[in-house]
Symmetry: C2
Subunit: 344 residues, 2 copies
Amino acid sequence: MKANIMYEAGDVRVEDVPKPQLEESTDSVLKVVAACICGSDLHPYRHMHADEQGGGEPMGHEVIGRIEEMGSGVTDFKKGDLVVVPFAYGDNTCPYCQEGLQTSCVNGGFMSGCQAEYVRIPQAQGSMFKLPDEIGDDSPLLPSLLTISDVYGTGYHAAVMGGVNENTTVTVVGDGAVGLLAVLSAKKLGARKIILMGRHKERTDLGVEFGATDVVSERGDEGIAKVHELTNGEGTHVVLECVGLMPAYDMSVGVVRPGGVISRVGAPQYEEAGVGFASLFRHNITLTGGPAPTRAYMDELLPDILDGSLNPGRVFDVTMGIDDVPEGYRAMNDREALKVLVKP
Amino acid sequence: MKANIMYEAGDVRVEDVPKPQLEESTDSVLKVVAACICGSDLHPYRHMHADEQGGGEPMGHEVIGRIEEMGSGVTDFKKGDLVVVPFAYGDNTCPYCQEGLQTSCVNGGFMSGCQAEYVRIPQAQGSMFKLPDEIGDDSPLLPSLLTISDVYGTGYHAAVMGGVNENTTVTVVGDGAVGLLAVLSAKKLGARKIILMGRHKERTDLGVEFGATDVVSERGDEGIAKVHELTNGEGTHVVLECVGLMPAYDMSVGVVRPGGVISRVGAPQYEEAGVGFASLFRHNITLTGGPAPTRAYMDELLPDILDGSLNPGRVFDVTMGIDDVPEGYRAMNDREALKVLVKP
């Protein structure tokens, strides 16, 4: 079968590899119906060093697929079921999963290899989420349904961890797919003011359609000043940091209101950051967030998609076949594409 | 009048200085009935550099006193009233104060000069908290009442911000007065397991009386391993960091459970710290806390003290006169005293 493998920064190749097999009784194998390229895939695309042994990384962690095979421990599904899988697999039964923190599952891990024709799903019983039988492989709802695997669930996690509600003002840092869906999530949770910080007009325009009340295209100190202008000098109660780079962290510290919350879902590309008196401590700023347990939110996010009231799949602006994934990386990296849907 | 002034590390002097006067209509002047030395006063006592102009810092930020004078803007009190004042003064009317975050009051600041015979209170109307008329200057309740100015309110803030309740397990890092009162606070809020990390047996013994269920005297990796042993390998839901030094931060990261909260009230003596994938992000750890708005908790903490059911004043193990304060600093710094009460 065909799969996309990354060897080092800028080097993604479509290759013929063996079709994945069941390895554990808890596995399933899916025939991929829809996958995609994630903003977080661009971090290795920019910075990955070649493995000295010449090995590559099977790419892709978001997938909708039809069940091709199941191990004996996977009992609540039947072959041919259409399922969506969270980017972090897990058994959905351990104490952390029961608390809704599937990303810390004791039997969990992160998906890989979804930008392919078939993919193996570990802990399939707990990870797979069945989609309604009436959804076909060419359903116009597929892009939106795929977003609950990662980007929509991740934006929603940011908003939930930030404590967004009808009494909070919100700044969203970043106009990538997660940032835009953090806007949608903040709107869904009732935020009355949603300031989107982003520089790409076609993206922030979509953000406004998703519910942003203001757009700030300036960055750094200028951007911070602009948010203060929009908030009576106070900053916003909640900041949803959807980038993961140091300048985004510093900007978040700059725009958060005393007593407020910075909720991060952009995987941090740094380890140390300011947390002392000058940054977080003086005004009781809370720092929260992490990898989103998107499995926990699927039941909640599905209805609005099925009834058409929300359309998070609009973050996909390009659809490509499996052979075009390397070109998809290039297009996203050059910001020609916001997010690439892959249909094998 | 006599006041204690710090000139540089290790140099505190009792001096004759002018009695403070009303400077603003919102001020009051108190005759000090009880003050104390704070663990946070030891940071400058260890590290303060001499001012090139030769100026010193009037020390002390916790006080109970009788109103000697009031400006025209102070209307809800009468001369002679016994009041306790939070270590952070504020108007108690601005938006932050109304939300219970008096430490971010737009007209606020931090108290100083309480280790003296008289002290000026800015924003007196909002800062002063009247104690019942039956409390005399020699009431045995005075030590406990003084703790709501800072250390008890600060320990309580840690527990509140950490979300401590009957379903949470708690680690308290630090066996100073704030750490011990964080134990008391966690107990008051119903925590079922409270692990106190501290090395000083006479202090941790008091911690056990305050409600600690376990004591871990090891530090660093050994201490972390011990907490994991006590918690089925998971760590605790909440960590109350009551020290403010880097090793305490790292230990907090080591003992917090996935999805848990680190609540800091020890003023951080560092600015940068680990917050990335390896420390906070991977398992959705929340970092919270800051200077405690102790004014916000006074109504809540008073009744248990007045009826004798809680005795947070036990953290005071030495009482000294105003002339002995320099010796009090030395004793606390050398860990001969846990916390020094000052009775002018």
